[in-house]
Symmetry: D2
Subunit: 139 residues, 4 copies
């Protein structure tokens, strides 16, 4: 695993900059990201848009997969399922991605997305389960 | 169905403005949206981020569901599955959402997302299948 | 595509025999299966079990993928999502699988499952979307 | 929660009898089932069919949801996603279902399916995530 590799890939994602997302924690097979819930990423009721929860959850899961790849490889999302379990209300979304089944051809991942309110309380807002595929040649 | 209702809800979605998305077509049970593929919504290889394909696909599907709701009701995404079938390369993503099973308690939806290149050629980049739930009281 | 290859693989599936399933149609990228709805594959209300709809839908999709593989290869299900849209009431389930995106590494598939009643009328009961992976060496 | 209610519902599922499945553990929001891996529920390579893993995983998840319902209510599967992470090799599949988000209108569930070999060793073969809906009137 390489922190630099994850940070460098993250920095190249325009979408992560647009969402003002940041990496909060990296460990082998585990990556946490977060992003603010603001009007510019809201849905029609003022909560964070489902696509915001997807964006941080999918990215946390993808970087968790990248954290267990050989140097030189990258990962792409093959498919992702998201269950939205509560409105994304509050100040910030926190996504925790994990590798549940590493594989040479495919990596199965999960992520949990929490919303943090002004008092620092957190509640689950989304659960993701999906598949990542390694691309590129090992260095 | 009410065009005004869909346009009004869409205008309140900060995420749709941030993505510079627009509604291209509305018919009962069918809604098409599109959004530009730019560096600010890209992933690490310069293609559109998976979250961009999700955002336009999920929204097209959600507005397709809204198009068959009684006045006064709105819809929320319960769950959504996305299969990414090709990189989101080109200038613009087009999402076509449709209701496949309307119901009083739940609405099953699908969406297809295409990427359009500089020559106007289109190829599928994502397929979505999910569930919407009506919320709010009929007017 | 080879009818023999599909028929031979199907005959080796104990589950398909247990469900009394049969292949009804094969074309490149399209396979239809059916199986009777009986008490021995029912759920607690007497309808066909969700697992029956899954079994015929997943198999129809898998054989659709196999129909576009090179000789000597087989396919396994990587992941599958099923939306159950109506109770599996009636006499027989019909599953129609199709390849929506063939690929060298992965094949994206869909299936639609219908229930047929005593009068021959059919209604959709399930929609599936998933991913198949080729295994084995080309002959 | 009522053990009798779960046992009684389970006994009415012809599919569970056909698969020779049994309930192994019940606690509020948690249900474990198991079923033998035999030739009659196999796929073309002799492993347990994906539909077997789905059947026990979906049922464990559904009964986990039922375990937190009011008396008189039952649950139906709205949608379920399964990721197959290893072949269902061995003697027996064990499915562990859990409620991850109980709700009045919908219940979000997960299940993990393990295969047990002749030495008693277990490995994960499938992960499920889905939605159950309560039906029927409270008693």
């Amino acid at each position: 695993m390489s922190l630099e590799r994850i940070a460098e890939s993250f920095a190249r994602q325009g979408m992560m900059r647009t969402l003002d997302a940041r990496i909060d924690a990296v460990a082998p097979g585990l990556v946490s990201l977060s992003a603010p819930i603001t009007a510019s990423v809201g849905q029609q009721h003022g909560y964070g848009h489902a696509a915001l929860a997807f964006a941080v959850g999918d990215s946390a899961a993808g970087y968790a997969a990248l954290s267990v790849m050989e140097p030189g490889r990258e990962v792409l999302t093959v498919e992702m399922k998201i269950n939205l379990v509560a409105p994304a209300a509050g100040l910030r979304l926190h996504a925790h991605g994990e590798v549940v089944k590493p594989g040479r051809r495919l990596v199965v991942v999960r992520a949990r997305v929490e919303a943090e309110d002004a008092e620092g309380a957190r509640r689950d807002v989304a659960l993701l389960q999906g598949t990542m595929i390694p691309v590129g040649d090992p260095a």
